[in-house]
């Protein structure tokens, strides 16, 4: 298990700084499929790991002078409020309902990509 975790973390870190994302898109499914995590536990654990990844990425990019603090606050602070509501709602949804919500996100992303 530790080796698999290390490998997942390594890939997640690369994804994170290459694309400016947390890496949860990689970590959540891998924790579930490779390590048998239940989906809510995978979600929670991934969020905590992303904290470390994003902090490292921010520091690394700050040295390169690419971090815009004002813009980060503009989108990041309302996002924090959204995250609190999002996790609250998640606790009242079943695993299956969570998957349906995933499907909705797919459709939204597809439409968005086609229009942009």
């Amino acid at each position: 298990m530790p080796l698999k975790l290390l490998a997942i973390g390594l890939v997640a870190g690369l994804f994170s700084t290459l694309f400016g994302v947390g890496g949860g898109i990689v970590v959540v499914p891998l924790l579930i499929i490779a390590l048998g995590f239940e989906s809510k536990r995978a979600t929670g654990t991934s969020l905590a790991a992303i904290g470390i990844t994003a902090l490292a990425g921010t520091i690394l990019y700050a040295f390169e002078g690419h971090v815009d603090v004002a813009h980060a606050a503009l989108v990041g602070l309302p996002a924090a409020a959204g995250a609190v509501i999002g996790t609250g709602v998640q606790q009242r949804l079943s695993g299956r309902a969570l998957m349906l919500a995933f499907a909705g996100l797919v459709a939204a992303l597809a439409v968005w990509l086609l229009l942009s």
């Binding site: 890939v11 994302v21 470390i52 959204g82 995250a83 999002g86």
Partner: protein
Amino acid sequence: MSAGTIVFALLLGFSAGLLAGFFGVGGGILFVPTLVALGLSQIEAEATSLLAILPTVAAGTWRQRRYGNVDRRAALTLGLASIVGAVAGVQIATTLPEDTLRRLFGVLLLGVAGQLAWRARRAAPYPSES
């Protein structure tokens, strides 16, 4: 920055946070295009997205811990291993031309959409739940 732009940024930020809470992601998938729309370059958007992710995951993790959904040892192992990958990612991202990086991000979005579609189509979402 106009008032409309600020409202747009605030709304998209809030939406990204909701998604982060639902799916255990930091919201970066939405932060990056939002920041590009606000006028940042692709590399600035990606770097700034990582900082914007921090308050989101802090809030999300605080909530998840209350629900007992965080495996702290696994999270720490994942996080520390990710730093090595993160160093490599920064090297690659700062070396690549701007438009290549943006196209790669577009491919990532398509991959994410495909992955979600594939998972949603399966009768039993995950082996652990079947």
